[in-house]
């Protein structure tokens, strides 16, 4: 009874946080990549509107990044508190990819801060270089973190040893990077994130250009459309690759997904996302299909993540047709008091509502370009 309770709360907490976190990191990753692209195009074409648009997007990136960071901390602490063995295995067996991700976080933090605060303060070429570091950092984070999911689908490159009748997992150097499931998962997360962010940006630009004569929004639309289409297609290709690898190396997961019809739904969603992004090319219907395309990409990503990760149940780590069950990897050291996860869910619901209200205030009621500095500009 005790263990079931802990498993339930452990799964509920980590699941809720994971699916909230993934939305924000997707936006952060996508924006981190496409913002420097806009700046580079602006410099190459000597078009100030691209640069202005990139700057505007960076201000939004900074805000979303903070929220994504908080939820990343939630995930880490929930893993440590409820799934300590899993976290230990992840940080130890996957020492190199996780270190790569942590280095990516550090690079992304520093370069995002520099990128934002040094706008117009340094030469454009150096600023672009900082932006490219920001992109690289964000891509490294997603790349490294996907190794955890790959490990749970197919624990490749793991050294096992036994002592005292117990099985211990340890690192096998860089081998986890050669996990066949890893690369398609990492690439899928990159491509869908970029596709989704570019379609969100496109929606924003279309909406603003219809409500005002600004060239800043009108001129950037074409680039967003192209990025959205290309990366929606790449997302579809990589998810197909990921499904094939799951079929070959994580039979239990693939079978569970296939039996419920989820493989077909994933592919339909991927095709839909691609088609909607193509439809956004039409100037007559772009304002309709850009947000639909963004939502379709989000649904595509989330459905794949939810269906594949829940397909592992009752196992946390799948090994072929069996695996390590959740109740043998959950934290057994104390009985999780119900108030702890319930309070968390209440707080997150309340604060998400407040956050969305804040975004509304910040984006529409009090947008950044209308802000005025004080005469002193300082304390």
């Amino acid at each position: 009874m005790f263990l079931i309770s802990n498993v339930f709360w452990g799964l509920a907490s980590i699941g809720t946080t994971f699916f909230l976190h993934i939305f924000f990191v997707t936006v952060v990753l996508g924006l981190s990549v496409i913002i420097p692209v806009f700046e580079i195009i602006g410099v190459a074409k000597r078009e100030e509107n691209f640069i202005r648009f990139a700057r505007r997007l960076t201000s939004y990136l900074v805000r979303v990044d903070l929220f994504a960071g908080v939820l990343a901390t939630w995930l880490t602490v929930f893993l440590a508190a409820y799934w300590p063995s899993l976290l230990y295995i992840a940080t130890n067996v996957l020492f190199y990819p996780i270190s790569l991700a942590v280095a990516g976080i550090m690079i992304a933090i520093v370069s995002t801060a520099l990128y934002w605060y040094t706008w117009d303060e340094m030469s454009r070429k150096v600023h672009i270089a900082v932006g490219l570091f920001m992109s690289a950092g964000a891509l490294m984070v997603a790349f490294g973190m996907n190794s955890i999911l790959a490990l749970m689908f197919y624990p490749y490159g793991v050294k096992t040893s036994t002592a005292l009748g117990l099985t211990f997992f340890s690192s096998n150097g860089l081998n986890p990077l050669a996990n066949p499931v890893f690369l398609p998962l990492a690439l899928f997360s990159w491509f869908v994130s970029i596709a989704m962010a570019s379609l969100i940006v496109l929606t924003f630009a279309l909406f603003r250009s219809r409500n005002g004569p600004s060239d800043e929004f009108r001129i950037t639309v074409r680039t967003s459309k192209i990025i959205g289409i290309v990366f929606s297609l790449l997302g579809l290709v990589t998810v197909s690759w990921a499904l094939m690898e799951l079929h070959d190396f994580s039979q239990y997961v693939y079978q569970q997904m296939a039996d419920r019809g989820f493989v077909s739904i994933v592919l339909i969603l991927g095709i839909s996302a691609f088609l909607f992004s193509i439809l956004s090319l039409s100037r007559r219907v772009d304002l309709l299909f850009a947000p639909i395309g963004a939502f379709a990409n989000y649904a595509f990503l989330m459905f794949f993540e939810i269906s594949s990760n829940t397909a592992r149940y009752p196992y946390i780590v799948v090994t072929g047709n069996t695996g390590i069950p959740a109740d043998s990897i959950i934290n057994p050291m104390f009985s999780i008091p119900s108030i702890l996860p319930l309070a968390g869910m209440a707080v997150i619901a309340l604060m998400l509502g407040t956050f969305l209200l804040t975004l509304y205030l910040a984006f529409y009621v009090f947008p950044v370009d209308r802000r005025k500095g004080t005469s002193d500009g300082a304390l």
Binding site: V70, P84, Y88, N92, M106, L164, F168, F169, M333
Partner: protein
């Protein structure tokens, strides 16, 4: 009870245990990382008091200058909060990646406080966003905006309390009853009710030194620790947690309010902005810092008493008690109300150790080795605190003729000059006291991660933490600090209007 000299498990294939070299190298990057994080979070904890005081005065007096001061100051609150949040995320990652054995701590005694801290964190981040984006938007009821700020303050303090409760548990593992005394450190009194299963603790403490943190890599092994504790809330009930929280909160207020004072003094001396405007801010920030400075000795005294009670070896080292024992009239007066108490030294503590208690001996060796540093650091903090009290009293010369004259006589300067230059001295001393205080606290705990239970070499990652890896991480950490400082420079120094530069003579 826990074995004092763990026996190796035959045939063990993972050689992660007792990795002192890796632990020592890893410690360097952790020290730098935590200080970088602390630099930012100290603003997030301490500075809101200054900002909200300025805003409240502005609303109460209907004075736009105070509101403008509060708004400009809130930018620093926002920047440092963001930097604190991201560096905190990194510290957390660093903790679980580099000190991966500490996951066992997070999974047991630290779980509840760290989870509550997560909730506090999200309250903070959402409300601070709301606070910063709604400045001057509450036209009818301006107090509403202050209330949002108080909400942030609540989140910040809840978060600080929970994190510090975990640190306090690492100093004083409350809820372990007499276990620490009965295993390695016989001078430690009973640490609250025993809510930890002694058999499970024995497994943990016996196996950790042999296999290191690799213990956690086996789900089966971890299940041996089921029902380790019956009370996951014990860390927040630790008496050391209350004292640590209060001491650190006041320290954060002192550091940030004196830094704000120093910045405003710089502006006044260099002639940036209107002098009257700057003085308004300076008076408020100095007053806030002074009040916190007056309260700090009380919090420090409570913490000192707890150190004496629970960590006698560290107390002896910080107070400079000779190995053979000796008299310290001032401490004797504070603790016993007389001047003649004889304090027993580390040799007496060594005499209490049972034969074969190598970790107990290692603890005393560490205390004795670090004693000169600990004594220096501890008294750097205490002397800095005394000077801060003098500065705080002196600053009341702005309001009291008697103190004004006293300052004039003692320091041979005008009270305005005293406050302007005193704010620079105060901020330097406040930083020194904070850095020294934390250094002595953490250095004093060597070689333990959890005092008397788990040593730090046992929780380091099984991977070799190489000097190159550590150097790269330290370089990144310093890069983050410099980026943060640069951001502050861009907002608070570069944008100072040179047209208004003139300067005043004091």
């Amino acid at each position: 009870m826990v074995g004092s000299s763990p026996t190796p498990i035959a045939g063990w294939v993972l050689s992660a245990g007792s990795n002192w070299a890796a632990a020592n190298i890893a410690e360097l990057m952790t020290i730098v990382g935590i200080y970088v994080h602390a630099f930012f979070l100290i603003f997030a904890v301490g500075f809101p008091i200054v900002v909200l005081t300025l805003e409240s005065i502005g609303i109460w007096r209907e004075d736009e200058d105070y509101l403008k001061l509060a708004r400009n100051a809130s930018k620093l609150w926002g920047i440092t909060f963001a930097a604190g949040a991201v560096t905190g995320t990194l510290v957390e990652f660093g903790l679980v990646v580099v000190w991966s054995g500490s996951i066992a701590l997070i999974a047991s005694m630290a779980a509840a406080p760290l989870i509550i801290e997560l909730y506090a964190f999200i309250i903070e981040i959402v409300l601070i966003g709301t606070y910063l984006t709604t400045f001057n938007r509450f036209k009818r009821w301006k107090g509403g905006h202050v209330l949002i700020g108080i909400g942030v303050l609540f989140g910040t303090n809840l978060s600080a309390y929970m994190i510090l409760a975990v640190n306090a548990w690492m100093q004083v593992p409350w809820g372990t009853g007499a276990m620490v005394a009965q295993t390695f450190l016989p001078w430690v009194p009973s640490l609250g009710p025993q809510i930890v299963d002694p058999a499970k603790l024995k497994i943990l403490a016996t196996v950790l030194p042999v296999v290191g943190s690799s213990l956690l890599s086996s789900p089966g092994a971890f299940q041996l620790l089921s029902n380790f504790t019956t009370d996951p809330w014990i860390a927040v009930l630790n008496p050391e947690a209350n004292a640590t929280y209060l001491h650190n909160l006041l320290a954060a207020v002192i550091v940030t309010s004196f830094l704000a004072s120093a910045y405003l003094s710089f502006k006044i001396l260099k002639g940036y902005g209107k002098e009257g405007y700057n003085w308004k801010g300076l008076k408020v920030s100095f007053l806030v810092g002074s009040i916190a400075t007056f309260l700090q000795p009380v919090a420090g005294d409570v913490q000192g008493r707890l150190l004496y009670e629970f960590q006698r070896n560290i107390f002896n080292a910080t107070e400079g008690i000779p190995k053979n024992g000796g008299y310290d009239p001032v401490i004797s007066l504070l603790l016993y109300g007389n001047l003649n108490h004889y304090f027993l030294g580390s040799n007496y503590l060594a005499s209490l150790l049972p034969p074969g208690d190598t970790l107990g001996q290692l603890t005393l060796n560490a205390s004795n080795t670090y004693a000169p540093f600990l004594h220096f650091l501890y008294y750097s903090m205490v002397i800095s605190g005394v000077i801060l009290v003098v500065l705080s009293i002196g600053h009341f010369g702005l309001y009291s003729n008697f103190i004004r004259k006293l300052v004039n006589v003692l320091f041979r300067m005008k009270i305005e000059t005293f406050v302007l230059y005193g704010s620079f001295v105060g901020s330097a001393l406040a930083i020194l006291a904070s850095v020294a205080g934390w250094a002595s606290r953490e250095m004093g705990r060597h070689p333990w991660t959890v005092y008397g239970l788990v040593t730090y070499n046992d929780v380091v990652n099984a991977h070799q933490i190489t000097p190159l890896f550590t150097s790269a991480v330290i370089a990144l950490e310093i890069g983050i600090l410099l980026a943060g400082l640069w951001g502050i420079h861009m907002i608070y120094f570069k944008k100072l209007d040179p047209r208004r530069r003139g300067g005043v003579s004091h």
